[in-house]
Amino acid sequence: EPEVTQTPSHQVTQMGQEVILRCVPISNHLYFYWYRQILGQKVEFLVSFYNNEISEKSEIFDDQFSVERPDGSNFTLKIRSTKLEDSAMYFCASRKGESNQPQHFGDGTRLSIL
């Protein structure tokens, strides 16, 4: 069964550095998402992406964050200047079509900011 893949599984970065988290969504899916889960907290929506543009973003997704689908298969999340509070699990998800269909999640990237 096709799945969403995320790399790397664990990223350690110095505070203030840029980081790029990578995702390969399921190939025939049209909607793409990033969520994060800070340790011990709930899964939080960051951003949704459809038709090569952001369709919705949360208040967490400030100017330090950006997303890109550079080549039709990858979907990336960039954090320009990381902060300690960016440490979390970041999950990528994709959805095939209609909004009643479930999102399929990757296994996440654990981001640790030192």
Binding site: V4, Q6, Y31, Y33, Y35, Q41, K42, V43, E44, F45, S48, Y50, S55, E56, F91, A93, R95, S99, N100, P102, Q103, H104, F105, G106, D107, G108
Partner: protein, 113 residues
């Protein structure tokens, strides 16, 4: 403002018995209600869903109930199996292109053999 709440952080049941996981929400405009299961070191996996026009959906051992007047969603697992031990999240979404999901805090289910 927490729109989706799972008030029980943990639940422990005996194998073969029923597990009931609950979820309460505040916004009556949600269109779809989903349950995801999450094992450690993995992403959430879709389990079962229900639309706002229905009050029950069943898939094998899993049944989801929706009480719109009470703004309450529940997941029944019967019979429970040790492999069901995981964190269960309810997730609610609107019928929009963005289709983002708003997650509850999660309930850790432990099924004892």
């Amino acid at each position: 403002d927490q729109q989706v709440k799972q008030n029980s952080p943990s639940l422990s049941v005996q194998e073969g018995r029923i597990s009931i996981l609950n979820c309460d929400y505040t916004n009556s405009m949600f269109d779809y209600f989903l349950w995801y299961k999450k094992y450690p070191a993995e992403g959430p996996t879709f389990l079962i869903s229900i639309s706002s026009i229905k009050d029950k959906n069943e898939d094998g051992r899993f049944t989801v109930f929706l009480n719109k007047s009470a703004k309450h969603l529940s997941l029944h697992i019967v019979p429970s199996q040790p492999g069901d031990s995981a964190v269960y999240f309810c997730a609610l979404s609107y019928n929009t292109n963005a289709g983002k999901s708003t997650f509850g805090d999660g309930t850790t289910l432990t099924v004892k053999p």
